[in-house]
């Protein structure tokens, strides 16, 4: 009897946290309402990052004759990616690809969410919640690239490029890193998408900017951001939403998610101040657009590290993010003369790669379970190079194909009049 009471005590005491493991040991997954609540909340937060966060961030940066166009790019991409996610992309990224599983999943297995019990679990949350949470990542990633090609691209090629890219770049890389592919096997660390989201989007954005060519006003007659307040609002929404992006990537409610939020916030705040400080020092004026660009740089850079580092490291990552991304934004546009119009590569590409590298050295073993050092750093570098390479090569091909199909640029006259009226038939402001 005593023994029994003892067992009972253990069972009860190990409840909550413990019970789940216990049951999992018995091969029976159990839904946790708290975990599920957090991932559903995170899903809403990440969608909010794109709609309207990112849209406003970009919309405020362009000139007032292209604001509708920038918003339209983001939301149309969001809608199209959502539908494509259901039509095979989710399956392509997250199912077992059989012989090719190292590189890709099966496009048909869960096409249309087929062959999935409506209440099937994925860990302690329903698989449908996992599906929609991951969908919001697939939505924002191609939308990030909008910043590279605004004010001159054809709307039809925006849709075509993004749609093809989802299957050729995003889904495969997701499979490599999070879907049981070869980079996962190698033990690469990418908590919330430094590789999957930011490196892919950043590198591809640079490719598109180069192939598309500069705006005719670039670099001397480009108009300043037409509405810094919109930019700031968008950046703030991205910041808040990023709690879901990084915190939600723990796929559970608890200390891992909590620590991800802490380091995300610290890195964002630090990078903001760093960028502001650099501008203040260099131009004599601390600007709002610069500060919030630093915010996004900090957020992108902490992303791969967010579940693996402690707050001190987040501070270091924040300083590095602000300084390095600032440096690259100047380099790309002024030295290389590439019209990556809204600095997608400098902020997301460089940030994502930088963070992926730094986590190799800064990972806290207690938190993330991985020992930092050269061993891990090598794996991280392999990850960066391979993901960047795929993004580069595939995007060149995609863009060339789309160019052949429908062309890339609007006419010079249309660009001059603004895409709002010429492409979408609407004006941004009737005040």
């Amino acid at each position: 009897m005593k023994k029994f009471v003892y067992i009972l005590g253990i069972v009860i005491l190990s409840s909550y946290a413990g019970m789940l493991d216990l049951l999992a040991d018995n091969g029976e997954a159990v839904l946790d309402t708290g975990d599920t609540a957090w991932i559903m909340t995170s899903t809403a937060l990440v969608l909010f990052m794109t709609l309207p966060g990112l849209a406003l961030f970009y919309g405020g940066l362009v000139s007032s004759k292209n604001v509708v166009s920038a918003l339209m790019h983001v939301i149309a991409i969001a809608c199209l990616m959502s539908v494509l996610w259901l039509f095979g992309a989710y399956s392509f990224a997250f199912t077992d690809g059989g012989d090719l599983n190292k590189y890709i999943g099966s496009i048909t297995e869960k096409f249309l969410f087929n062959n999935v019990e409506w209440n099937a679990l994925s860990g302690t949350i329903p698989e449908n919640v996992f599906f929609i949470f991951q969908l919001t990542f697939a939505v924002i990633t191609p939308a990030l690239m909008v910043g590279a090609y605004v004010e001159r691209i054809k709307f039809s090629s925006v849709l075509l490029i993004s749609g093809i890219w989802l299957f050729v770049v995003y889904a495969p890389v997701t499979h490599w890193v999070w879907g049981g592919g070869w980079l996962a096997d190698l033990g690469v660390l990418d908590f919330a998408g430094g590789l999957v989201v930011h490196t892919t989007a950043g590198v591809s954005a640079l490719v598109i900017a180069i192939l598309l060519g500069n705006r005719s006003e670039f670099p001397n007659n480009v108009q300043p951001p037409h509405n810094p307040a919109l930019v700031m609002v968008g950046a703030c929404m991205l910041w808040v939403g990023w709690f879901g992006f990084n915190g939600g990537s723990a796929l559970a409610s608890g200390a891992n998610a909590g620590m991800a939020m802490v380091v995300t916030h610290i890195a964002a705040a630090t990078a903001s101040l760093t960028w502001m400080g650099i501008e203040w020092f260099k131009n004599g004026k601390p600007g709002l657009v610069g500060l919030v660009t630093g915010t996004i740089a900090g957020l992108a850079t902490i992303t791969p590290a967010s579940g693996f580092v402690d707050p001190k490291s987040a501070f270091i990552i924040g300083v590095a993010a602000g300084a390095v991304c600032y440096y690259f934004s100047v380099l790309i546009k002024q030295t290389f003369n590439i019209d990556d119009s809204l600095d997608v590569f400098a902020v997301h590409g460089v940030g994502g790669m930088l963070g992926t590298l730094m986590v190799g050295f800064l990972a806290n073993e207690a938190i993330g379970g991985t020992a930092p050092g050269w061993e891990q750093a090598k794996v991280q570098i392999i990850g960066i190079i391979s993901v960047a390479a795929l993004s580069l090569v595939a995007t060149v091909i995609i863009v060339k194909v789309v160019q052949a199909l429908v062309g890339l640029r609007v006419s010079g006259k249309e660009a001059q009049e603004g895409l709002d009226i010429t492409t979408h038939g609407e004006r941004g402001y009737h005040l």
Binding site: N221, E279, G287, S329, Q334
Partner: protein, 112 residues
């Protein structure tokens, strides 16, 4: 009658208006314009890139007055809009053939 057109610095509007009121000018029309001149525009720097804003915001005042008040009005504007710094603006005077008050149909100096 004369139409006095003055291009002034934006923040001088209040003072100019007060000065005109003082000498009995009650009506005027104001437009926000952009000026190019000796005073050069400025640069705005975002993310390390410079953006040239070539124009400067200015205020254009149009006021129609009796010919005999021309000098007085010009002086009032000149004195109140002056800062002594480049970009203070200009005053032009044009002859008006007719003036009509829409409400009453009054003509000439009675209309202004």
């Amino acid at each position: 009658m004369k139409l006095i057109i003055a291009i002034i610095k934006t923040f001088k509007l209040d003072e100019v208006q007060t000065a005109l009121n003082k000498i009995g000018v009650e009506g005027m029309t104001v437009t926000e314009v952009r000026g190019f001149g000796r005073q050069k525009g400025h640069k705005e720097v975002y993310r390390g890139s410079e953006y040239a804003v070539k124009y400067l915001p200015k205020i254009k005042i149009e006021v129609v007055i009796d010919k005999k008040n021309e000098e007085k009005v010009i002086k009032a504007i000149k004195d109140s809009a002056n800062t002594g710094e480049i970009g203070d603006g200009k005053i032009f005077s044009v002859s008006i053939d007719k003036a009509i008050r829409i409400r009453t149909g009054e003509k000439g100096t009675k209309a202004i």
